[in-house]
């Protein structure tokens, strides 16, 4: 099947629906957890995972104070106690800041202020997150307001209703419109794979999002189960690989939701490494959407240095 969509200038963008074999994906996705990694390399991966993290809070109960607290954690992930304990270890490398914090548009100004000068980005879930069930005009206003408030990155949701109804042109047009509304901000397109039903649809949605101008494609809002899984992530990485093979353009990937342990993060990074290669092993092209993951990675970093675990209260909640 060829899905015909047209770009701004009315040029046809034929997107071939690439079939995905779900059984084969299960097998391959399970494989990446079986690699064993050198201790030094593991430590590098933990540091990289922190630098790839989009620390996220997306609750109705979010307040400016809550966001400020999370921003502090984003800049300095290790608590003062842990930092002190770590700094006594010979050869210890300082814990880096995370890539970004991810908040609702209304809270962007607070995050921007709290992160000023830190190098940590502000990402915002615009487009009537998480359902996207609002008019395009409303969603675009949402995006423009977030960008105007200083968001560096916009995490949009695709119109799953339109996608599942087969209105691919509409899905494409809306993504392209959001991209335009983003201006200089980077666009991450959330497919909400937990609502798409099949891996074939995940692949098609990935290809449409990439064709319509996504800088990153992202699995999930975190509000729908299942969120990121190794299987959907692998399918999306394969879409990115095919796009790179055809155009030489590198699209980024963000699995979000459900990645809680350092061990899981390593499995995702091995998958990235074996599917797209070392060029993608950078925060510019890969992010983890997570909140619980950070403390477990810190826990494992301490363990890599010392061979034991730091006590639990040594990690700050946020």
């Amino acid at each position: 099947m060829i899905v015909n969509v047209h770009d701004h200038d009315g040029r046809s963008q034929g997107i071939a629906a690439i079939p995905v074999d779900a059984v084969g994906i299960d097998e391959r996705a399970a494989f990446f957890g079986k690699r064993s990694i050198k201790a030094g390399s593991k430590l590098d991966l933990f540091y990289l995972a922190i630098r790839m993290m989009d620390l996220t809070t997306l609750e109705g109960a979010d307040t400016p104070a809550r966001v400020r607290q999370m921003c502090r954690k984003a800049i300095q992930p290790a608590s003062p106690m842990l930092t002190e304990a770590l700094s006594k270890i010979p050869g210890f490398r300082p814990i880096p800041s995370v890539a970004a914090v991810c908040v609702y548009p209304l809270l962007v100004p607070h995050a921007v202020k709290a992160l000023e000068g830190s190098g940590v980005h502000v990402a915002s879930v615009a487009t009537s997150f998480p359902s996207g069930q609002a008019s395009l005009a409303t969603r675009l206003i949402d995006v423009r307001e977030a960008v105007a408030a200083g968001a560096h990155e916009i995490d949009m949701v695709i119109n799953r209703g339109a996608f599942l109804a087969g209105e691919y042109q509409q899905v494409y047009d809306e993504i392209a419109a959001v991209r335009e509304a983003c201006g200089a901000a980077h666009l991450k397109v959330i497919l909400e794979t937990g609502e798409l039903g099949t891996l074939d649809k995940v692949r098609l949605a990935s290809d449409i999002a990439i064709a319509a101008g996504a800088h990153f494609i992202k699995t999930s809002t975190g509000k729908v189960q299942p969120a990121a899984t190794p299987q959907v992530t692998l399918v999306m990485l394969q879409a990115i690989a095919d796009h790179y093979r055809k155009t030489g353009v590198r699209i980024g990937m963000k699995p979000a939701g459900g990645i809680r342990t350092a061990r899981q993060a390593i499995t995702y990074l091995v998958m990235l490494y074996e599917t797209l290669g070392p060029a993608w092993m950078t925060p510019d092209l890969y992010r983890f959407g997570a909140s619980a993951l950070l403390n477990d990675v810190l826990r494992q970093i301490y363990k890599q240095y010392t061979g034991r675990y730091y006590y639990d209260k040594g990690y700050s909640l946020d």
Partner: protein, 507 residues
């Protein structure tokens, strides 16, 4: 915007703008650690004897040969070399045990022994997997995750049949045949022993097993497990040795049935030798199996399937998907992806859990494969091997490779290489794919990749192959019969069909 992103990554390995079409410098490279499975779990005795009538027995001529670790080419153990008189003793022990004990037991009793054996294999599976890897050269990941689970599963499966044989052929009365002589190859040593022994015992036969001279260690270990399970003496006897012992077993008048897995060349000799003797015979021989990929396949998964089809177990697989047939419209993309994927393969120490491709089983085998690769190059098809794959200094290692633009008349497209060598040809229509797939004297297995179910059924019905996999490859299960057409042999192993070669129809 680029500035934002440069901020975000504190590392010098920043790639700049993600949409920058220029090639980005390399990001982080992952260093895989050698993760060596400890070999402490296995104790390999310096010398192994024959196992006859429940006793470890010295060979009559007092001769021994070496079993070699193919990853290092060091000697693992001395193995007794059986001659005709040893084989005779083993066959007589099997006959005694058949007459006095095993054929008299109820099916339920035989099943209890087999269940016990299966459980002991599970309990000792790590030890057996390590030993198999040391002796054979296959990656520990495969011996641990594929061979050993299947070995136990075969014993469990046929244990279940032992007291249900009256349902194997509804309406017919069946009984055991007698003494089975079983000769097995070196590529799946323990698994092939299980394929042979489990149905034979379930049906009430006794066994003389001859493992391959390259890889006898796990079969010898299996005899210990049989002892531990309390299997009566003489029910399974083991004679180690090379062609001489095998020939003596095949020619022995006291043997009622021969089961052989190995090369087509030896299979033909056995068939001639057995002709007119009244012995039953099953042969599981070579293959040159076609792996057909249509343009409507899930290409990324098909690449995985093709990799698994040919490079699994170093390509030492009788049903290996060694002839890739690609629909011309996707051949370019497919080969690009295949190359990318092959570069990820890790060749090396078979005991390393990160190893994808282990050691070629012997120096002789390595030389044979290398000669065939040279021949392929001389015949002028284009050759690819991922040169960045590092090979260990010692041991028998070879990079995976393929030849593309191969015609059916090329030697490599016709002979069984039995190594990590793939040939690639293209086709234009399903009819052409079927014709090319069948253009071989063999007929063991085939694979079809298409997301269109009706096409799979249509193509499968045209293929002359004993096993056909759709959208997967090299999947094995004790419930499923396995065997070939043409020069791939006759008879089936596995499933209900696998009982029939070990049963006499009594009425």
């Amino acid at each position: 915007m680029t500035e934002h992103l440069a901020h975000a990554s504190a590392s010098p390995a920043t790639n700049g703008h993600p949409r920058d079409p220029a090639p980005a410098p390399g990001g982080l490279v992952i260093d895989y650690a050698p993760s060596i499975e400890s070999d402490k779990i296995v104790q390999i005795p310096a010398r192994h004897q024959l196992y006859i009538g429940g006793k470890w027995t010295q060979p009559a001529a007092g001769r021994y040969f070496d079993s070699i670790n193919p990853a290092t080419n060091q000697v693992l153990s001395e193995i007794a070399e059986a001659d005709a008189s040893d084989v005779d003793a083993a066959v007589r022990a099997a006959r005694r045990s058949y007459d006095r004990t095993w054929s008299k037991l109820s099916g339920r009793e035989r099943g209890r022994y087999l269940f016990r054996i299966a459980r002991l294999i599970q309990e000792r599976s790590r030890e057996l997997a390590v030993l198999e890897t040391i002796d054979n050269g296959k990656p520990i990941r495969e011996s641990r995750d594929v061979d050993l689970p299947l070995v136990a599963a075969h014993f469990f499966y046929y244990a279940g049949w032992a007291d249900k044989l009256e349902y194997a052929l509804p309406g017919r009365k069946v009984g055991p045949i007698g003494v089975a002589g079983q000769i097995i190859p070196w590529n799946f040593p323990l698994l092939m022993a299980a394929w042979k022994i489990a149905p034979a015992l379930a049906c009430g036969n006794t066994v003389v097993l001859k493992p391959a001279e390259q890889t006898p260690l796990t079969a010898l270990k299996l005899m210990e497990i049989f002892e531990e399970a309390g299997l009566p003496p003489g029910v399974v006897n083991l004679v180690t040795g090379a062609g001489e012992a095998g020939a003596a077993l095949v020619a022995h008048p006291g043997v009622d049935k021969i089961a052989f897995t190995g090369s087509t060349e030896v299979g033909k000799i056995i068939a001639r030798s057995v002709a007119g003797s009244g012995k039953k015979l099953t042969l599981e021989l070579g293959g040159k199996s076609a792996h057909i990929v249509f343009e409507d396949a899930a290409i990324d998964q098909a690449v995985e399937g093709v990799i698994n089809g040919i490079y699994f177990n170093q390509g030492h697989v009788c049903c290996a998907g060694s002839r890739l047939l690609l629909e011309e419209s996707v051949s370019g993309v497919f080969l690009d992806k295949l190359k990318v994927r092959m570069r990820q393969l890790r060749v090396g120490n078979p005991l390393d859990k990160n190893t994808d491709i282990g050691a070629i089983n012997s120096i002789g085998e390595l030389d044979k494969i290398k000669r065939l690769i040279e021949l392929g190059k001389q015949e002028g098809s284009s050759y690819f091997e991922p040169e960045e794959i590092k090979l260990p200094q010692a041991g028998n290692f070879l990079r995976p490779c393929f030849f593309s633009d191969v015609a059916s008349s090329h030697t490599l497209c016709r002979v069984e290489v039995f190594g990590p060598v793939l040939t690639v040809s293209t086709f234009r229509t399903p009819a052409e794919a079927v014709a090319k797939a069948n253009d071989t004297p063999y007929g063991l297995a085939a694979g079809i990749w298409s997301e269109k179910g009706s096409k799979i059924h249509k193509v499968a019905s045209g293929l002359r192959a004993g096993v056909i996999w759709a959208n997967t490859y090299n999947q094995f299960d004790p419930t499923s019969p396995f065997g070939g057409y043409g020069e791939s042999g006759y008879g089936r192993e596995g499933g209900r069909h696998g009982l029939l070669p070990y049963l006499e129809i009594l009425g």
